[in-house]
Symmetry: C2
Subunit: 320 residues, 2 copies
């Protein structure tokens, strides 16, 4: 069976809604990015749009439990949900506690849910490329909603604000990093702020965030709400879903959804171009070459590194 | 005053040990990476080596207090210390609490200490490029020890294990992320493990880490020690310094220090090449082009993105 035939066959089954084919195609574009064009050319006539939600917060704030609760609500509405987890401490990614994993297993068995976890490093062409491709596959598959769960902000290789339409920032009571929030840039990226584990308190955190948000200015006119949830008992989840819908509505009315889409594809485009160039470059400067040049740098003195690289590039011509 | 003259003049003062000139040169390579070759060509005849220590851990574990305590000890030995902080919650970076900041100010006034904090995003050519260039400048300046303080592991844009010779992983009692350690890859990168804030307990954490480390295998024969400190009272700091010296000795005897140096420059080389490519790319595909192509992608259907990029590359020739 040739590889060509294999992709055609997978796509056929994918188009019939076969989850196994979806899983296989994801693995394919994940591990062999150079196959992506061959996969995506089958979808040229598709025009399905998914709504993309980003969920971010430190480890332990309950991102997976919230994802789980949101997904269950969306399933009740008859929606298809694709989940991408890029959090190494997430139960989706095989981390965290047994209780979480049990909850996750429950939704993952639903025919209208698909979960994919991506590690946090080692992707050829970068993690963002992988996340973007999986989200494109979810769209082609017909997912109504895509939830991207990611840890931390500002120091991640992969930044959800280039990808998601609604970004939910998750916090917990007394976590101690509230003071750092402003520094970490968290208050600039959220569309909705959620203080989870409200059974442990957290009114002060919610009030503090609310106050800080008052100081910001909102170009598009959306003032991020702050709400409290207890994801385990699903308390506050209905309200959260309402806010997500409100934000989607807002983006559509203000036409900023088009801006968001443009950002998403501009990002993807740049990622793709970089990947292409990297691939071309690797044929020019091989691992052996890197080894040789590194030795040269150490022998000649490390401060000559810039000169040495400059000389390599002098030998390469880029013509258009 | 021409820019050319400016750099020459700054380098002259830099070579005389002027901290202000060091600060200016750091800002220069930080903000205008294309000027770096011009700066570093002045150092072609320098061969000073600094010993590079990486310090990593979650926010709040006391990285800055440990850095402060280590630095004070090194100063007593007559050493010059350069500190690079890439932790957004660090007092070096202007975050954290007043008490920390006071402590930092004390060492930063010492003529043999220089502290530079780098934000966690927005660097042209990437954060790692900036960190690498600052460490090179510290080496040229004649620092005996460079301490790179960084938050988290495995999800950071910038990974210290490509740069530091000795990596210290910092933990605290009852922080709750011990269970996640193995998943997060923390147990693979440390050369020394420190449980700080021992006044709050932590014997269990130290024992747990010690046990986990027993299961690993150590190619170079270095079995990472686990020790407990209280950085505020400097308890355990002497022991930590001894372990750092032991590890340095080990690296030299086993000749793995050369491997580490090779890794560092291979990493730098790849970073530089990527940056060069990015620069070239910007001349081929301008922001206007990105805008135009993005619109084309949205109009033609997002799944055609791969075809569209393929066509762009068909028009570019790479010659060597």
């Amino acid at each position: 069976m040739s590889k060509k035939y294999d992709i055609d066959n997978l796509v056929e089954r994918f188009n019939q809604g076969d989850k196994f084919a979806l899983a296989r195609l994801i693995s394919l574009v994940e591990n062999e990015p150079e196959k992506a064009p061959e996969v995506f050319k089958h979808f040229h006539n598709k025009h399905h749009n998914s709504y993309i939600i980003g969920l971010t917060g430190s480890p332990g704030v309950g991102k997976s439990t919230i994802t789980n609760a949101i997904t269950k609500r969306l399933l009740k509405e008859g929606k298809k949900v694709g989940i991408i987890s890029v959090d190494p401490s997430s139960p989706f990614s095989g981390g965290a506690f047994l209780g979480d994993r049990v909850r996750m297993t429950e939704i993952s068995l639903d025919p209208n849910v698909f979960i994919r976890s991506l590690g946090s490093r080692g992707y050829r062409g970068g993690l963002s490329r992988a996340v973007l491709d999986v989200s494109l596959l979810y769209e082609a598959y017909g997912m109504d909603v895509i939830i991207i769960e990611t840890v931390g902000v500002g120091q991640s290789e992969f930044e959800i604000y280039n990808l998601a339409y609604t970004i939910i920032v998750l916090m917990v009571p007394g976590y101690g990093d509230q003071i750092q929030m402003e520094k970490a840039g968290i208050l600039e990226i959220g569309d909705i702020y959620v203080v989870n584990k409200k059974d442990l308190g957290g009114d002060d955190v919610a009030a503090q965030v609310d106050l800080m948000l008052d100081d910001a200015c909102y170009e598009t006119g959306w003032r991020p709400p702050v709400l409290m949830t207890n994801a385990i008992t699903a308390e506050g989840i209905d309200e959260l879903i309402e806010y997500i819908n409100d934000h989607e509505e807002h983006l559509k009315l203000s036409e900023s959804i088009n801006e968001k889409k443009k950002e998403r594809f501009a990002y993807k485009l740049k990622e793709l171009i970089s990947f292409k160039i990297e691939t071309i470059l690797k044929t020019i400067i091989t691992e052996d070459e890197v080894e040789r040049i590194t030795k040269e740098i150490i022998a000649k003195g490390k401060f000559k590194i810039y000169d040495i690289v400059f000389n390599i590039f002098n030998e390469i011509n880029f013509n258009i």
